[in-house]
């Protein structure tokens, strides 16, 4: 079943066109890794999917419904599509628990006790039950990102967007975040994941998309794209990202 269908998605900033017409279908339960050089439009694509950026042209269909352009529609979409950022973007004036509760209380209008119980459950899921009362300033990068994931999960998203969730982390903290994402994959959640962790993409993704210059340059199974890329640019990109791993 198709949960997300994107047709002819174009994004321009002024005169500069960043996405030149992206077509994409996401089936429920799919895990799509998005690769691409810096500046190729990966973040812009993700941000257009939950309308943090307004597409300049094209169509986004969520669960069979074309997403309109009224504020009300956009807000409804954002509640159904969770997003996790490279820089975590936790709310520094709230505890870990407060961060996870915030969407439930302010957006979903749940009562405090209910939201608190749910938030505690999500924190436990990412292994941070003991950090509920801790402020972000006192958390490690890996813990911050796990709180951010719990914050997204609390809203019961049908689709999760990860924008380089481990790129801002010290190498020794990458593993704990990837483990959480992998556990979400094991639950069968639908996700789009921008990452430079090729090994992780290979093992966890059901499909890999290589983005170049604002277009889907190549896509296929992890084996097809990561092991036997057909296009020269994909090969060059993979080579440059692999040169230090062995």
């Amino acid at each position: 079943m198709t949960i997300l269908r994107v047709r002819g998605l174009i994004k321009r900033y002024g005169a500069v066109e960043v996405l030149h017409g992206i077509d994409l279908d996401v089936e429920r339960g799919e895990r799509i890794a998005i690769l691409g050089a810096s500046g190729s439009g990966k973040s812009t694509l993700l941000r257009c999917l939950n309308f943090m950026e307004m597409p300049s042209a094209g169509e986004v269909v969520l669960d069979g419904e074309v997403v309109g352009r009224r504020e009300r529609d956009l807000i409804a979409v954002r509640q159904r599509v969770g997003m996790v950022f490279q820089q975590f973007n936790l709310f520094p004036h709230m505890t870990a628990l407060g961060n996870v509760m915030e969407g439930l209380v302010t957006v979903r209008r749940q009562n405090k006790a209910e939201a608190q119980a749910r938030a505690a459950k999500e924190l436990a899921r990412v292994g941070l039950a003991d950090k509920a009362q801790t402020y972000p300033a006192h958390l490690s990068g890996g813990q911050k990102q796990r709180v951010a994931i719990a914050r997204a999960l609390a809203m019961d998203p049908e689709l999760l967007l990860f924008d380089e969730p481990t790129s801002a982390l010290d190498p020794e903290l990458v593993g704990e975040v990837l483990n959480v994402i992998r556990s979400l994959a094991d639950e069968g959640r639908t996700m789009l994941l921008v990452t430079h962790e090729l090994g992780f993409a290979y093992h966890v993704a059901t499909r890999v998309i290589f983005l170049a210059d604002g277009l889907v340059h190549e896509q296929g199974t992890p084996d097809e794209v990561l092991k036997n890329p057909r296009k020269e640019r994909t090969r060059a990109f993979l080579a440059s990202h692999r040169q230090f791993s062995f």
């Binding site: 954002r78 004036h93 969407g103 302010t106 300033a137 809203m155």
Partner: protein, 219 residues
Amino acid sequence: MRWDFASVLANSDALLVGLVGTLRLFAICLVLGLGLGLVVGLGRYARSRWFYLPATAFVEFFRNTPVLVQILWFYFALPILVPFEISPLAAASLGISLNSAAFSAEIFRGGIQSIERGQWDAARALGMRWGQAMRRIILPQAIKRMLPALTNRAIEIFKMSTLGSAVAYVELLQQGKLIASLNFNPIEAYTTVAVIFFVLLWPLLQFTYWMERRLKRDE
């Protein structure tokens, strides 16, 4: 010469009345000035020119006209144009509040602008509307950063309250003037008024220093 503070002390009830008047004017102008300042500051922050242009005109106008002129204008000129009386309190409140709104608007705008874009992203990604994000995420962080500047504004408002005496509003300076003219003791009367202001405001200023140090430590 001989200092004669006894003649001032004998009028301490008049000074007390003045102090109450000062505090009342201060409270009104603090709430109106900062409240309107927040609204105008949001207008200055807005992308839409329907909000931006009027807010900017307001700020420019009231930052570039003296408060005393405004108070006198509201007291003497406005009643000629409109069919109702303007009390000294109303004239002083209007003049000081509008001026404070113009200055604090720039504090609010700067504070809101200083919050990282990622905070907006995270709030909107959860499905918050603009107002929800502003109220729950942006303003609480911005106000913490703005607190020293806003407290400075409050100190300015407190001092500006003396301008009320220009329209004979009963506050500390007005009462000092009265005592000086009745007892022929301007040195003692005005010195006392100055000391009262100092005693009230000095702790407030120390508080802003303390907040500034704490903010630096937190960031």
